[in-house]
Subunit: 344 residues, 4 copies
């Protein structure tokens, strides 16, 4: 941590700041210049709130020089993390595509969609059982029944099961049925939930909150890793900006940024990222072109009748065409996407 | 709901949209103009996702014309809601000031601060027992012990107790000790928690999320009211914008906007709204001047040693001076603030 | 335009609104429902400020139902606009890549870079002669000398010349030397400048302001087209959001959104969009994958010594590799990029 | 400037960075720690782009430790700047209120409004003659005729004349008629215009751009001051955020922030800050309560028929009532506002 004193700071002010820093356990290196005095502080603890120093008299600025996270940092594992779920890998050469409905609605719905996902080369099946909805009057999900159907469909078509966990109390149930536990954008800073997921031994798909900086996303992943679960997959799914044409602004640049800062894999979610069906294919392509380790998206065979998020779900036929485009783009970045299957 | 068709939409496209709307239970009034066809739709259900229509072929735009909330709307109670807690009222002529430390740290700390709050004319005492922290390595609160201390201090000094509830499981415990249950910004869309709070018979202080629109804040209040608890106090506490000098941008204009849209009281939190101690007094004054029904802020007698948020806590002496300024401003808007007590 | 009255609006209020609308030249269709009265208004003039009606007593909401622009709208030219400059086309199957230094610094600098751009298959050469800088103490460009060098380099290597015009007074000078006149993000709403560019007979490259909505970008293009110049190329170059890791958030989704709303071509500028050299290749790839009609980026052979924007300029070797990747991605979206030349 | 090397940076990388810094004219103080090496750099020039160092191999972070502006900084004039125009002062104990129509429309309109402004205790009259409009089809102002009327009305009622200058070429004309030249939000970074205004000997009212940080606002003021004109009045008028209920988010906290960072006066513009008539009084009160050195707002006697911005103009009667409230609030912050006049 570096503390820059104001140019007119008095000796007394400087000494008060130094005393305070020493009391907090720092070693101090003082450097006196023409313009101002700078204090280099060694020994900052993780979680230290630097504003405590910032508000002292005579202090101009405080700069943290070490990142606030340790385990998620790229240097913790410079070669990158590859997460394996069955024969699917995330973070390596493969770029797995995960698709499916927003909510599991019925056996017929789910199997119809799962078949199409598998045929086109999708590796994972997504489907919500517990739905967080901004209106108290909307469909809230099938609950455990939905999870059972998801498990069955995945076993039948050889897909990895991904579903959202909304509360600590749901974790045991999720573990019974699901391969990857998703944390939704609204729960990215539900620290109690993150702490519990640190004890789990299955991969966590952690979505970026719509107002979360990349650093905050990484800090939330740190919560999970600090608990002992190192299998965290990050997910960019759009941030809130002044632009209102799209539901969110899908921050594609977060993908290469995260790849530089962290060893964890990051995937993109163009469905939530844009909120509009016809924007999903171009933004899925953009994500892969930018280096995403995977894509998760909403597919529905009858989106006009979907109980949730139909407007951002693409048709199976669109999905199949998109998969072909994504395969070409993956080769441009020296990655690969599973081929379409003749019979799913 | 009004559906505007594209100017070149075919008769077939228009008919398909009409059929879909009728199937969804709408009555349709069709109006054909030179530029385009407009469909007026009567009978929209709360929670209806209008994007389902937006993505149909030939549709240019869809406008919702009824607000998505009912119970929180101003017309539900045009005269405004006044919430009483003991002899304190929120939403009427009185502008109660609630103050206290970010976290309850010890008996001595809390009683020292509570005394100063009461002496200066504060009506409520805030203090966190369970702290959500963005770093897994930070102080996490005293838990039930903190709640007990809060109750004792409030009883001793005649103050109303306000503390944050972070999970459904904490509700019974909170009810034992606390007069007003606060929902933090990060939990504004924790719908499971909101639903449970709808069953509670104590007032809820609902903070606006840092990326939440005013409409979303009102929808979250609707969740609580839909459950039967009509005593909801809204709180503006800063939104995330591109400006990074302040921790958040304290959206003072949300106060008059909410007063127009809803009958619920709204208070301001300039401590979290700015994140900087020296910005708390000007922004507390701004909130009252703009018509806030109360102010909540962080006060600490030794903020440099506070275990959390010290940088945004003001000193008791600053608080006392500020209270005098706020009393003058309250009179300018024909409201009143409790006088300072000679002996707390 | 549709005016929705409040549910409790009185007959008198409704009549006042109708009278006001008629006085403004509208034809009114009144529709009275259980919940509220809705007034359909035909005959809105472009530029009408609907807030004039919004603030009348008893009005709940006003919705504009026709887009505020005419000439830039997709329906004005459903087949899309293809702009030709020499043998280069923008808006058709070709995806031209424009590259070069931020500022023209010297003959040697410009020719070195231009040669590399041409060799790798670039079609246009960018280079600033007049530099808008946020600090008054920074390098401000070579002026006309810079334009002359740009013209020479373009003629020598067979490239299209692109440079920024900062004021109306510079237009005649620019026309002498430049093929495409660029309007910078800060001037996107310099309406005097836009109006003058409407009289020009060369293509205008109009960059999106960092706080401009897509609709505002289209309205600015409308200014130019309304003056008679139909050759407008739009450019996404990053918007300002709360995320501060990247200089701006490169809004890739603006590309497909503009393609739907307008017939004008849109290109991407990943250099300004991210502000960081190592993020330029992934975001250039993302832009082409998302359907951009071209890419403009900063290339410098010695960026550490560049007089401006060196930090976001890529090396010629990186540019050559990137061009190969972009060619592959272009095929995935059924477009093409000019091949590398053996001898530039 | 402080350069923090990555924790694993090699000696060679560190040496390369040092060599580069020395070549750029810096003196370097190297400090080697357990975690990383830190380079303190003395001698940074104004306008230096620190990203040049940021992109070098092995560099983790670069922190600028001196502010990028000199003349606008609080320490340049710790006692604060008081600007005098006739007998009106801005920046001292007086809080002058400037009001008037968005555009000068006619002699009768302007004199009617000016009389009401003067009667209520307003000190300045605003009125646009050249209007920047986002649509090419809107009213564009009366031009010089408008300026003449403004001068006449100000002379007649003893008010200070404020009007917007949109281009360098308009400066001589403005100087003939106007007391304070306003730079609109869209021109805040029109550096050519700012440079020319540095040569003027009348006060400049510089509005914050809707996407401008406070630091950028101060840098734009630095442009004017660097040219020799030290009489700059800053103005907060709303920033663009995700919240769309109000046209902009009026950043009241910018007022105390600017007061701390700079010696220049800052006023608030709640009309543009909110865009809604009924939000102007509460936000004007908030601005004064937060310590604004003045308020500028739009007043119109017949806003429904105003040629521009009628929706955000308040009625003269509302203005008179507001002035009484503002006077009370001014006393709460130990400032004063001119009394109402019996006969204007």
């Amino acid at each position: 941590m570096i503390v820059v004193m104001q140019s007119g700071a008095s000796d007394e002010q400087i000494q008060t700041v130094i005393d305070r820093l020493v009391a907090l356990g720092f070693d101090i290196h003082r450097s006196t210049g023409v313009e101002c005095t700078v204090l280099g502080c060694v020994g900052v603890k993780a979680g230290f709130d630097h504003r405590i120093i910032e508000v002292l008299d005579g202090v101009a600025e405080v700069h943290r020089i070490t990142s606030p996270y340790k385990l998620v940092g790229r240097k913790f594992r410079p070669e990158g993390t590859i997460i394996r779920v069955g024969d699917m890998t995330i973070g390596g050469d493969e770029v797995p595509i995960i698709a499916g409905p927003c909510s599991v609605e019925s056996r017929e719905q789910l199997f119809t969609i799962a078949e199409k996902v598998a045929e086109a080369g999708g590796r994972g099946l997504r489907g919500g059982a517990f739905k967080p909805r901004s209106s108290p009057y909307s469909f809230q999900g099938l609950g455990e029944e939905g999870l059972k159907l998801l498990r069955e469909a995945c076993d039948h078509f050889g897909l990895v099961a991904v579903s959202e966990v909304m509360a600590e109390s749901q974790i045991p149930l999720m573990l019974e049925y699901v391969d990857i536990l998703q944390v939704g954008a609204r729960n990215m800073q539900n620290f109690n939930l993150l702490r519990e997921l640190g004890k789990v031994r299955k991969p966590i798909l952690l979505k970026r909150g719509i107002a979360a900086t990349i650093e905050e996303l990484l800090l939330s992943a740190e919560y999970i890793m600090a608990g002992g679960n190192y299998e965290v997959i990050l997910c960019e799914r759009g941030i809130r900006t002044f632009e209102s044409y799209t539901r969110n602004t899908f921050d594609v640049s977060a993908i290469p940024v995260v790849k530089k800062l962290s060893h964890l894999p990051i995937i993109g979610d163009p469905s939530h990222g844009t909120g509009l069906r016809d924007k999903v294919p171009p933004m899925a392509r953009a994500a892969v072109a930018a280096g995403a380790d995977g894509v998760i998206m909403e597919v529905h065979h009858d989106p006009d009748r979907a109980l949730s998020d139909g407007a951002q779900s693409i048709y199976p036929q669109t999905f199949a065409t998109l998969m072909d485009e994504l395969r070409l783009i993956a080769t441009a970045v020296k990655r690969n996407i599973a081929p379409a299957r003749v019979n799913a």
